[in-house]
Amino acid sequence: MKLITVYIQPYKLNKVKQELFKEKIYKVSVTNALGCGQQKGFTESYRGIDIEVNLLKKIRIEIAVNEAFVEPTVQAIIAGSRTGNIGDGKIFITPIEECIRIRSGETGRKAIG
């Protein structure tokens, strides 16, 4: 089982969700985050004073999947969020040792989906 953590541009969330649904991945968790990356931020002026905005708004998605689903999930995310521009985001894959469904107590591969 793997945990796929993704950072994307906020306005791509709907698209990513649609692509995931096509692949029958229905379970995701989303938080809002601020990101600092290649996209260096921008300098605004607030009331005439410079203000550096170097933390840009991002959406963080966590998706726990079984091994077989890793590849389709990654592809779906890319399909939904790639524009080719800096700031598109990153995908990190980390191992999950155990997964438990609170409602039923089921564990492992059965619990994840």
Binding site: P10, Y11, L13, N14, N32, E44, S45, Y46, K57, I59
Partner: protein
């Protein structure tokens, strides 16, 4: 005696004008609250500027076009820059200027969340200098042609609200909908909700508008010694209240739950509805007028949004355009005062006929000129912000600010 009467008129009209001025805050809050957080600063700027720039245009041209010596009952020709020193003129200008600003500001909500700020500025200059004053001239200038044929619009259901509403309609149509508002699913276009971000601001805005409406309607007596001030306030209160009640029950019935933001729109619809006839109808008639307005405002969305796919984020067209029409017709139905008798009080259909002429004339004038104006802007500076700015929000794109700095706001649309 005459002096005191003048003084009484002065303080009444100026107090009323101040209340009407305060409606600008109400509009700003309603429109801000009903749209998304990422566009709040832009809405504020639009509202601030349609008043500020608008009032300066009205000082330069608007008043002259509206109340200057009439040319064929069509437009005024003198008193530009508020020339002269008659204290009554200053007083009257003040009262009229805040009305002009009300008409102008109605549009900002309908074109919210996608219009270029520069385009809006240009629009606002013209509505305040020409479009509204001409409409006003026809109806309120003693020599206006609609006035001469007996058209009645006491406080401006048509002059102010429909004028604003029709300009709003043209703007919303020419702009097209916000991204994400209409989605094609299986070949069928469905309307999606893009929920507003701050309901308490909307509620406060509506209360402020209601408060200001006492000045709007009762101040339109243009005299502090007019005994109708009392009943005008009463019918204004009752019609707004009735609009709230029926709008609420309509949403309850249609959507299963009483919906707050449409109920708040119901108040405004009731208030717009009573505006034309507030000096001529009874409290019972006011309750009926408001009730109908409250139902209409909910139902009209089924047509405008779901059928015609015109994206009007705050429902300005329904609230001001359609309720304005209803209120103006209602004069022909319910008027019962002095020589004016509506259909239900033995006056026949005559007054209603005249009312319809007025409604249609203003509709043609405002839609025509606004269509041309918005089309010209579209062809030159452009009307819409680009996709990136629309997605990120006009606050960042057009003004370089965040309205709620520090707050975690989830914006994916």
């Amino acid at each position: 005696m005459g002096d005191l009467k003048n003084a009484l008129d002065m303080i009444w009209i100026i107090t009323a004008a101040s209340l009407v001025f305060f409606m600008q805050a109400g509009f700003t809050l309603v429109e801000t609250g009903l749209t998304r957080a990422k566009n709040a600063g832009n809405i504020i700027m639009k509202n601030l500027m349609d008043f500020s720039a608008g009032v300066i245009m009205f000082w330069m041209f608007g008043w002259a076009v509206m109340y200057g010596t009439s040319k064929l009952g069509l437009f005024g020709t003198n008193q530009f820059f508020l020339s002269g020193t008659n204290p009554l003129r200053f007083r009257n200008w003040m009262f009229q200027a805040v009305f002009a600003a009300t008409a102008a500001t109605i549009v900002s909500g309908a074109v919210a969340e996608r219009t270029k700020f520069k385009a809006y500025l240009i629009y606002t200059v013209f509505i305040s200098a020409v479009i509204y004053p001409v409409a006003g001239h026809w109806i309120w200038n003693p020599s206006g042609w609609l006035k001469s044929i007996g058209f009645i619009d006491f406080s401006g259901s048509t002059v102010v609200h429909s004028t604003g509403g029709w300009a709003a309609l043209m703007g919303a149509m020419l702009l097209g909908p916000r991204r994400g508002k209409y989605v094609k699913v299986n070949g069928k276009i469905t309307a999606k909700a893009l929920p507003g971000h701050n309901l308490p601001l909307v509620a406060l805005g509506v209360f402020i508008l209601w408060f200001g409406w006492f000045g709007f309607n009762a101040g339109s007596t243009l005299s502090g010694s007019d005994a109708r001030i009392g009943i005008i306030t009463v019918v204004t209160t009752l019609s707004g209240a009735a609009g709230a009640v029926t709008a609420m029950f309509t949403t309850w019935f249609l959507f299963g739950k009483p919906e707050p933001s449409m109920t708040l729109n119901g108040v405004l619809a009731g208030l717009v509805g009573i505006t034309a006839g507030c000096s001529l109808v009874s409290p019972a008639a006011a309750v009926i007028i408001g009730s109908v307005a409250g139902i209409l405002v909910v139902l009209s969305v089924e047509v405008i949004d779901k059928k015609l796919h015109i994206d009007d984020p705050v429902r300005a067209v329904s609230v001001h355009g359609i309720s304005g029409v209803w209120g103006t017709i209602a004069v022909g139905l319910f008027a019962n005062s002095g020589t004016v008798r509506g259909l239900f009080f033995g006056g026949g259909l005559k007054q209603t006929g005249i009312q319809l002429i007025g409604i249609i004339s203003i509709l043609l004038w405002v839609c025509g000129t606004s269509f041309i104006l918005f089309s010209l802007i579209k062809a030159t500076t452009g009307l819409r912000v680009n996709e990136e700015n629309e997605m990120a929000g006009l606050d960042v794109g057009e003004h370089g600010v965040e309205a709620y700095s520090g707050f975690q706001i989830f914006t994916t649309m």
